[in-house]
């Protein structure tokens, strides 16, 4: 059994650790590129949202490397991604691409099913499996901690791209790390390297929060590297969505002391209930970012994403009440780089000028 899974930002690193931990041979799909997207778009329904298309591209590219089993998440509720695993299964079958699919439904609804599937996949004694899961968790936390450091450095570094180069190497080293000790060593070393990067002498950084649907927020291919673009424009990006927090909120039921989303506390009175996907969190996080003194918020969503459309329609009220400017960007395979760049520059310019006026 050669197992593969869809990409979502740095998720591969975490999943690879967990799956190798339970004794599976893992095929990480090639990094998402234009080719991945083109492959997916060719075979996916046109109106499906981007995650389905890119995932499909991932599977087809992983097949070329010999993968025969897909592990992915299903879901319940208004977000369509819940049934995308089934749609993908059918599309792959029609293409004559033989894959076995192991779909994990949300553990709070289908706990026994999850248990059965883990038992089915597991190839090792339980202690080893637990070790793999612990490693995956440690790596998720390490990646997220380092990425936050990079987000802080991007607008401040003297030469654009240096922090990202260090971060790229960190990902490789974390991937190779086999023990808690090694993970800690990598984090410490990389943090030291990042701290030693030369900075611009006097930068006036503005802070922009990123909210939205998790896939478009975390996957740089589909959001056209929005965080790097903003960094180059002198913007410190903050976001609420991180893999470690997602795992903590959804799999560990928020047991660990990590900052989580509490849309039930932050989103009302603008949006009072779950709307699927991350729509509720988008509204809640916007309120949180406004309270924490961010200068603006950018909401990202795949085109036709229903939960984010609901959130989008609520944003003018949030903007009115909190005074934080919100710009919504819908992404799909048609999104042009030049158009995105102009919108980002204009948004950042607007925030700078507003800030200048407020400060002066």
């Amino acid at each position: 059994m050669k197992v593969t899974f869809p990409h979502m930002g740095h998720l591969w690193l975490v999943l690879k650790a967990a799956l190798t931990g339970i004794g599976l041979e893992v095929v990480v799909p090639p990094p998402c590129t234009r080719r991945t997207l083109e492959l997916g778009v060719r075979h996916a329904p046109e109106s499906a949202c981007l995650p389905l298309k890119v995932n499909l591209g991932n599977y087809l590219e992983a097949k070329e490397l010999g993968a025969d089993t897909i592990v992915m998440a299903g879901g319940v509720g208004p977000c369509r991604i819940g049934y995308y695993s089934q749609v993908q299964r059918e599309i792959l079958r029609d293409l004559g691409c033989a894959y076995e699919m192991v779909v994990f439904e949300p553990p709070d609804v289908h706990f026994n099913e999850v248990w059965d599937k883990i038992k089915y996949l597991n190839r090792r004694p339980w202690q080893d499996g637990v070790h793999g899961v612990v490693m995956a968790w440690l790596k998720a936390c390490a990646v997220d901690a380092l990425e936050q450091e990079v987000q802080r450095l991007r607008p401040r570094e003297a030469q654009t791209g240096l922090a990202d180069a260090v971060f790229r190497r960190a990902l490789q080293e974390l991937d190779a790390a086999g023990s808690r000790k090694e993970v800690n060593r990598v984090v410490k070393e990389i943090k030291g390297e990042l701290a030693a990067l030369p900075l611009k002498p006097d930068v006036r950084v503005i802070r922009v929060g990123i909210v939205g649907e998790i896939y478009t927020v975390l996957e740089p291919l589909v959001n056209l590297d929005i965080e790097k673009r903003l960094g180059a424009l002198g913007v410190e990006v903050v976001r609420g969505l991180f893999l470690s927090r997602w795992i903590n909120d959804n799999l560990f039921k928020g047991l660990l002391p990590l900052p989580g989303h509490h849309p039930e506390k932050t989103a009302p009175p603008f949006l009072n209930h779950f709307v699927g996907g991350h729509g509720w969190e988008s509204v809640g996080d916007t309120v949180t970012f406004a309270r924490r003194g961010c200068d603006g918020v950018i909401q990202l969503a795949p085109l036709t994403c229903m939960p984010e459309i609901v959130a989008h329609s609520v944003m003018p009220a949030v903007q009115q009440a909190t005074g934080i400017p919100v710009m919504t960007i819908y992404l799909d395979e048609q999104t042009g780089e030049a158009g995105l760049q102009t919108r980002l520059e204009a948004f950042v310019d607007m925030l700078r000028r507003q800030k200048g006026v407020r400060a002066g």
């Binding site: 080719r35 400017p325 102009t342 204009a346 006026v357």
Partner: protein
Amino acid sequence: MTSIYLGIDVGSVSTNVIALDIDGNLLASVYLRTRGQPIPAIQEGLREIRATLGREVTVAGVGTTGSGRGLAAVMTGADVVKNEITAHAVAASQVVPGVQTVLEIGGQDSKIIILRQGVVTDFAMNTVCAAGTGSFLDQQAARLGIPIENFGRLALGAKNPVRIAGRCAVFAESDMIHKQQQGHPLDDIVAGLCEALVRNYLNNVGKGKEILPPVVFQGGVAANAGMRQAFSRALGTEVIVPEHYGVMGAYGAALLAREARPKTSAFRGFELTERDFRTGGFECRGCANHCEVVELREGKEVLARWGDRCGKWSNAVAV
């Protein structure tokens, strides 16, 4: 010897160059068609500006804007590179102090900019449709054999504007042809078309934004009397078209260069109109991304590269 500030707006359809004196007064302006070749257009624009001004000028600052702003900036040595939204907002508030809404429709894209107390508080650009309004009007005028300058004026005499589907240019065109075949008079059809485009703009670009007067209408399409009339009717307020409505982007870029007051301008000299610039590109095979890298060369020297995700090529050239 007079000091001037240059503003260069390189758009998809037109390239505009403007010269301001140090007090911000407009000395000269040039409007050219880009014709898909921004480099010769920029060179031609600068040549004409210099011809208009005579030789005795020093350039105190250069600003570029428009979709070709990056290219123009590297070529000319710009001090300020700003996107179209900022440039248009700055220009509009210079011409009409206290402006609260800017409607801007060019060849390819359309924007709405909301200002309050002189600061941009909100903006939008065409996304799904309402694109190519200027080009579409151009095309319809050509199809009907009416010079574009007279096209909009036709609408003013209309008694019963025809209702035309304005969701997107393709629907609008087929619906319009249908109405023509039914025998509606031309002026009613042109008026209907203008109303459809305005409706489309307000629904897709201006969606939900609070449009307060004074309203300024600029960009190439503002030349169209029919569009001006349709806008003031739809908004129920006067719509101001500034004198230099077609070159407001370049004007704004020049104003921004003036505002920045560079100690010495990075301008590479008017001689650049005689230099040999070339662009080329290649696909990088360094990783799986296969980025399309574009480079700008002057003679043999590489001035700039862009398009790579990792910075391998763009960082290798000091811009």
